[in-house]
Symmetry: D2
């Protein structure tokens, strides 16, 4: 793509040559640095960032979850205005307000064609921002396959709401969709961080009759109730398996959603799910060699339970549907914004996220 800049279309004359970017210098080390503005190819877009969210995955990455990275720009949840478009891009225009999927597949490769764009090229390969290419905690970011991976934001929706469609809402929805909740059915959501909260909201929005949230942090519990949890189980006060079973007349739930990313929580999901039910995992389980399925409650492998997993699904179509739900006031994600920072304060925000201090759910970064 050495000739890429030749092909750019509609470039704004004054686009800076350099920009500020929040990078992982190496394992365990972050900083705000000056970087060259990314170049774009024929199918790409350059976006001027207006708002972003920090994600626990950024902290995982710095901790080594993705291996060693040097000077990689972090971040995969951001919105902004289109600054430049590659020569082949159609259906978008410079200046447009857009949201960019955290996962940006090519949509053409084998896994994409198979219906698994999140695994573009290889397992988890759709996740490129802040992983295999520079992320979007920067003043500008490049979006591959822009037509398919950017979605215009309706004028009525502020950036601060739209930025939740990049990852949090999409992943939470995947958790609820994969849970195969019958209309009027029962569901337990383990872990009420931002993804768990959206899984709670979508479990309710997709027709669950009883939504049980499981978490011990009061602020999260309160948000879960706001997003539609009918019951809250505080696992510090009672065994969560027993509590969930009690709330379902000892039948167990139709569906359980693992959004805590803890092996014990995953095992509890299996334990509370009735025969024929579904366990939907959206938690990250990268810290151990394996995750255990408890044999007894799994019916020794014969209980007709289904265990499904998902990485954040991307794509313009999905983001458009999520934006429609925000616009139609089915769901307001901004209640999850517990903290706001200017981009210049990003290091402070990062350390808050890393320490999970001050009841943080999501930190919004304003550019």
């Amino acid at each position: 793509m050495s000739t890429a800049t030749i092909e750019e279309r509609g470039a704004v004359a004054s686009t800076a040559e350099t920009m500020k970017a929040f990078v992982m210098e190496g394992l365990g080390k972050v900083s705000l640095v000056e970087k060259r503005v990314p170049r774009i190819g024929p199918g790409d877009a350059l976006v001027r960032t207006t708002a972003a969210l920090l994600c626990a995955s950024d902290v995982h990455a710095v901790g080594g979850a993705l291996g060693v990275r040097h000077n990689l720009t972090l971040g995969h949840e951001a919105v902004g205005r289109i600054e430049k478009l590659g020569s082949a891009v159609q259906g978008l225009r410079v200046g447009q307000r857009v949201t960019a999927g955290a996962v940006t597949p090519c949509w053409r490769c084998e896994n994409c064609q198979r219906g698994y764009p999140s695994h573009c090229g290889r397992v988890l390969g759709g996740w490129k921002f802040g992983n295999v290419k520079d992320g979007n905690l920067a003043e500008f970011f490049q979006v591959n396959d822009a037509e398919a991976n950017l979605c215009p934001i309706p004028d009525t929706i502020p950036y601060e709401a739209a930025v939740y469609t990049c990852d949090v809402m999409s992943t939470g929805l995947a958790g609820a969709e994969n849970a195969a909740i019958p209309a009027g059915g029962t569901v337990a959501v383990f872990g009420l961080g931002s993804v768990g909260l959206m899984a709670t909201a979508f479990a309710r929005l997709l027709g669950a009759g009883l939504v049980i949230g499981v978490d011990s942090v009061p602020a999260r519990q309160a948000l879960a109730r706001r997003y539609g949890a009918d019951e809250i189980v505080d696992f510090r006060k009672a065994g969560p398996v027993e509590a969930v079973r009690r709330l379902t007349d000892e039948r167990g739930v139709d569906s359980a959603i693992e959004a805590a990313g803890a092996a014990e929580s995953f095992a509890n999901c299996v334990k509370v799910t009735r025969p024929g039910g579904t366990i939907s995992n959206v938690g990250y389980h990268g810290y151990g060699d394996s995750v255990a399925i408890p044999s007894l409650e799994w019916g020794a492998g014969m209980a007709d339970q289904t265990i499904r997993t998902s990485l954040c699904p991307g794509g313009r179509v999905r983001m458009e549907r999520l934006l429609r739900l925000i616009e139609a006031k089915r769901l307001d994600p901004t209640a999850m914004t517990t903290h706001r920072f200017a981009f210049s304060e990003i290091e402070k925000a990062y350390h808050l996220m890393a320490t999970r201090a001050d009841g943080i759910v999501k930190a919004l970064i304003v550019f």
Copy 2:
């Protein structure tokens, strides 16, 4: 049901009062004893056994897998002729040749209505024969909800073939159905005992383009080839994960079927399955507290893989379809009959099954 016999219809005058039955006397102890012929209620049938199969589950049961049982008749795979019918039974007649599902649900309870009749009443509760009531390694056996759980055998099909529809074919088919194999897709079957062999046959019959069987026993390997395996992986000669990956150009399979009932085999299924693929478990995993999912190949819980499980599905409709496949010569299950015994020799057959000696796959018991 104390008045049950009053309601019997069409009883053959000479039905004996007592019969021979092969029982689990207690943990670790079996014997052929004299027992009273079972009584039947209004919705039941009494069947005069003509052929049966021994199952590894019978051996598991005697070993304690179901807890302590006293004088319980073993067996859940049997065919025969209808000897008596309860007063409320319609659509069947005395003298009819029938196959009886290993799993005999009530079809009315909550789990049955939910679409999971194998878990009638409670998890695995559809499995009644040789578990919570007397089985059918006996001269006669009682069938609850006979209309729904017995299926007439077409005249062209011998008992020796039909008896495979009770469990082995139904479970093997469930393994293949749950595997969600795309037409022309790739599948690996781990464990080529009778259920694994039928999973192999059905993977082929449902349109797989590449069927890989994994087992180390030559006789089973030969049967797997006969039933449609395109490739055989002998895990004594090579790492099965590497071998399967090599056979799929390092992409992994679309679907893996666990029919070995071993934790290592289950982990291997996860390891060979590509993102978005399905692991279908039909193996019994009751010997440990848990079964481990390897995190890395599971994409840390985000690889869009699905893990499904199943107990043998029962029901007249399913058996009718299986019989149709036998009749249409799509599949001949009798190649799995490696040994034949008269019912009087049942103890000998049992000990052969228990020791897995002499390359046994299935032992047919003729009455």
Copy 3:
């Protein structure tokens, strides 16, 4: 079943010998008559009616939709208290407040086992009340397979709400379930009678992002807005196809639900549905020989559209989930009760229903 009464259990001593019943005397003729209280068999229940709803199907029946019937008790939507239970019934008790499915399958026959209990025995065969046996517009009614077809009503839910689970809510939900609406997707509901209103409510409850109701009656339009329609199309004011296309940026809807029972409305559903979308029919199309699919918008049979149909699904499990949604205040069906009558006034109610006068949506009959 001539000995049925012998088997009754827990009968209340004072059950009357005769009762009032509202019958179809013959084609076009109804009246309130004295009838013998129904007898019950071992698996049945007798229910003392407390509330019922008139249905347009009752009017169709009297008009000849089911053929000639003599002195058949009408009605299939009713709740009450259990008066007697057959000897084989478990899990229910005399005196319990219950709702009875409009469709009461046997749950054991071929179609039931195939997963289509609404077609128990034969097409539409699950519909027995007021069709092939006496209905429940009577002081008592008999319920076959009571364990599976009656559902206890929680104390917190009044009869007047619970009676909507028999048919209206179940059918409306089927309309929305079969429509396969993506989360945040778009749906048009044609016909806003009681079933269309519930389809509207459930489209919203299952996660639609835009729900468009199509009807010309102001009272129904108002109810549709109350139940969650975002937009209303009045087909007297504008072509409904053009209006729906305009509301979806000329893309058409993801899903259309036909609840009007009119051939033109069905064709419009096809016309407004985008490629790959779903048309879900719950309307009754029995008045002509055929219903036409418009070729052009059907992509000449290649548009990847799906047309699904449904009769009201029955069963205790489904009613329990519907009751849970009422209890959890997700949905209040009683806003559809536009008229209330004592059972003695049933003929008046019937004629109102038959003439569709006075803006009637549903007439509640109180016993």
Copy 4:
């Protein structure tokens, strides 16, 4: 794309400037003409044709099915060698033997992301060859989005077999997939032209227990038997509805596949399908304004039947699976080649196809 040729990579020096192409001059008129070799853009490929098939759709097009076209090259089923590749194409190389999907989506637009690439851009919009751009009955053809729409052909498979993956096998498979045939279930295929024959083969390959082919042409009947039909119904000898019902013990089939493209045949599909069954349409119904669903057998819109439709699905992944089935000898499509012509004889071939003379099924054109 005016600069496209600059971006070509690996072009063979001697590629001709002009080529022979078989065109639709206008409505009702075809001829073999000289045309400029197509130019390619960055994501495209140029393929040197080695074999092609004529399709009834080519005849429909000339007859006006797509509207007026001038000098449009016909054809959408072809294989060949890659002659040139656009600068952005990865994973393919010049000289490679490839098959090209009849449907060549962009894989990025809204309908593609929704999972309906056949409707790329608009309904049926994935079909570009011989429709909205020049087809491949020419010495060279251009393939858009080549990475996703070309599939390498294994060395063991001759062009003459591979060319059936472009359309006939893919569409026939779609017919069988959409039919949702239960393992061991019953299916009727109406119309045994090439697509119907492949639907027959795939119905068998996907596990049907009884496959009934309906056609009156002896040569097609013979091919249907060869491809797996268990029974043949000749509608000149008996009413096909009655015949199919008789072959299924008056129960009707689980699934019916319409591959005749006739309204009467579509109605018959509905008539022979049991409640809860599926009608899968792959026939072209563009000759009338509408296609009628018979009300009675459709259960007046309540029989839980599903009607699905499909245009030929494209994509490298699908063609790879189809090629795997050919390579594994599950299916040999070449038995459908009833006629062979050199490209210079294409007009003769076309007129044979147009008149359906000489028992033609498929005419192979060799370059």
